[in-house]
């Protein structure tokens, strides 16, 4: 199967014309006196204005990498440069926004108080406080009637919106997000996506650590698959959409066409796709992105009463599966 998966070290021309925002070189991090190897010589470059995804199984080292980038963990060896500065120093922290995975913030505060606290911690000018907080709460679409309510009474979705708002305080140039859409309703997911896309336009770099592959695929320019503390592969998501995927097509069981098998086979051949599996009411095809519409047209022309066509898995799911197979 052809994919656009790039092994680390391959040259990717367009991206590399940009300025590097983060350089991670041979990063090694162990726990428990070296018995647990979280990162094993991880090397990675992230470019300015890029939304970069981190995916991989639990315990792969994603959170450790995020912790090292935030300066919350000290690597055993290797180096990190964030906009030319080491992680964790005050000048780097001024440029960084972080959204933790579980936003269980101080429950006694209201959203406004919480943002006021972080506005002060971020060292922002007091005169900008009210306007900046109002603008952020509006931007993440947290309803105004809960701004003064205790955080302990918030739903998961409200907390996540507040989490995104606090991350954006101080106009950061680098964002680190841990499961940014977890617990959000579809409107909230779209909101977060819009915010990040908008920030990308202004040159803000973002790193998204998530298990929600659909969302990562929609958001990110590139995605790294991490396993056993190493980068197995880096995939470009906004280029070369020609790779194949499985499309499952379902039709009406009472379809008028008596010879379904032949009709489906002919349609597949005419569309230039591979028929993988056929039942009475459905079939799976291996298709390239630009062939899906052609296949559906051919099926209908051949008298198949198509009801539904669903991609069986996203490209990142394929990447995940390949990573697991290589284990």
């Amino acid at each position: 199967m052809q994919t656009d998966i790039q092994q680390l070290g391959d040259v990717v021309a367009p991206m590399e014309e940009r300025t590097k925002c983060i350089i991670v070189q041979d990063l090694v991090k162990t726990y428990k006196g070296g018995r647990v190897k979280a990162l094993q010589g991880l090397t990675l470059d992230i470019y300015e204005g890029e939304i970069f995804g981190l995916i991989g199984p639990n315990g792969a080292g994603k959170s450790t990498l995020m912790g090292c980038l935030l300066g919350l963990l000290s690597p055993d060896s290797g180096g990190i440069s964030i906009m030319g500065m080491p992680p964790g120093v005050l000048s780097t922290r001024r440029l960084t926004g972080y959204a933790p995975e579980r936003p269980d913030f101080e429950g006694w505060m209201s959203a406004r108080q919480f943002l006021e606290y972080h506005h002060m911690l971020a060292g922002r000018e007091p005169c900008t406080r009210e306007a900046e907080i109002d603008s952020l709460l509006t931007r993440v679409a947290l309803p105004a009637n809960v701004w003064h309510r205790r955080i302990s009474t918030y739903s998961r979705g409200m907390l996540q919106r507040l989490n995104i708002a606090q991350m954006l305080l101080g106009e950061p140039r680098l964002l680190l997000l841990d499961e940014p859409t977890l617990g959000l309703d579809p409107v909230g997911v779209v909101q977060v996506r819009k915010v990040l896309m908008g920030l990308r336009e202004t040159g803000v770099t973002a790193i998204v650590n998530s298990h929600q592959l659909d969302e990562v695929e929609r958001l990110c320019d590139r995605v790294a698959f991490i396993r056993d503390g190493k980068i197995c592969s880096v995939q470009h998501l906004n280029e070369n959409r020609e790779e194949e995927y499985t499309l499952k097509v379902r039709w009406n069981k009472n379809c008028a066409n008596a010879n379904i098998g032949t009709a489906v086979d002919e349609a597949a051949r005419a569309a230039g796709v591979v028929l993988k599996e056929l039942t009475n009411a459905s079939a799976s095809f291996l298709v390239a992105n630009d062939r899906a519409s052609c296949l559906l047209r051919e099926l209908i022309v051949n008298g198949i009463d198509v009801e539904e066509a669903v991609p069986e898995r996203t490209r990142l799911e394929q990447l995940f599966e390949m990573g697991a197979q290589n284990e």
Partner: protein, 267 residues
């Protein structure tokens, strides 16, 4: 000193319901209630309420204030509704600034609350016929501030240093110190003798002497009344007090600077 941390630590003492509950209950309701009851029943000689006032009272108030401090350590993934340290430490605030501001605020709030408690208890005593000069009461109130300073420093260290061995030592030391503070006063041991010495059992005597020594070592305090009435400036007590605070704060800063915050799944 960070204004944001100062302001919101102060606010948490007023708005965090759990903290407020502990502080009001252990700092005011119980000791004041006990004092009133002992006086009403003519049992003021028992002085049982003193076990919840003075230095121990300050310790209880400060423990309430410190609830939820330094959450989100290596053992947990979240702040659990308390203070989520990893998030705070991604802001442009130095860890030393965080420790120093927390300690200053705890000292201020704990000192004020303990001084108010002391004043209320003194007023109740006076109302029931106790003879207390304003000079003595002012000395006691100042002493509560000094107690708050050193206990807050010890608590700050104990909360940021999350190694299990240190935690075991800290909790043991706290109980040993508390034992020395709450041992029966002179009147209970026997009016003609001197407190600890009046306790007959040798084992108990040794234990109490030891706990007093450990207490003096880990939380040395300055008796303001004694100091002001002493012929010489109590240099040793002051040096011991100040140096212990400095040691605790420097250790807390060193620990938090070295501490790592892992919040992912353990692999």
């Amino acid at each position: 000193m960070n204004k944001g941390i100062l302001k919101f630590t102060l606010l948490s003492a007023c708005l965090d319901r759990i903290k407020l509950f502990y502080i009001v209950l252990l700092g005011f309701v119980v000791p004041i209630g006990m004092k009133v009851v002992t006086y009403m029943h003519g049992a003021e000689e028992s002085q049982t309420f003193e076990m919840l006032t003075g230095k121990v009272g300050v310790a209880f108030i400060l423990t309430g204030l410190c609830l939820g401090l330094a959450g989100g350590g290596s053992g947990s993934q979240t702040g659990k509704g308390g203070e989520y340290l990893p998030l705070i430490l991604t802001r442009p605030v130095t860890r030393a600034q965080y420790i120093f501001t927390k300690w200053s605020t705890f000292t201020l709030v704990g000192g004020v609350l303990a001084a108010v408690q002391n004043l209320i208890l003194a007023l109740i005593g006076v109302a029931f016929g106790e003879v207390l000069s304003p000079y003595v009461v002012a000395g006691q109130m100042l002493e509560r501030f000094l107690d708050a300073g050193i206990i807050a420093a010890a608590l700050t260290l104990a909360l940021v240093a999350n190694h299990w061995l240190f935690q075991v030592c800290a909790i043991t030391a706290f109980y040993v110190w508390m034992m020395a503070q709450t041992m029966p006063p002179v009147s209970v041991a026997g009016p003609s003798s001197a407190g600890v010495d009046a306790v007959a059992l040798e084992g108990t005597h040794l234990m109490l002497t030891l706990s007093r020594l450990i207490g003096d070592l880990i939380l040395p305090t300055i008796s303001v009344y004694d100091a002001t009435n002493a012929p010489h400036f109590p240099l040793l007590a002051v040096v011991s007090y100040v140096s212990t605070i400095v040691v605790y704060l420097v250790a807390a800063i060193a620990v938090i600077n070295k501490r790592e915050f892992f919040y992912g799944t353990s692999g």
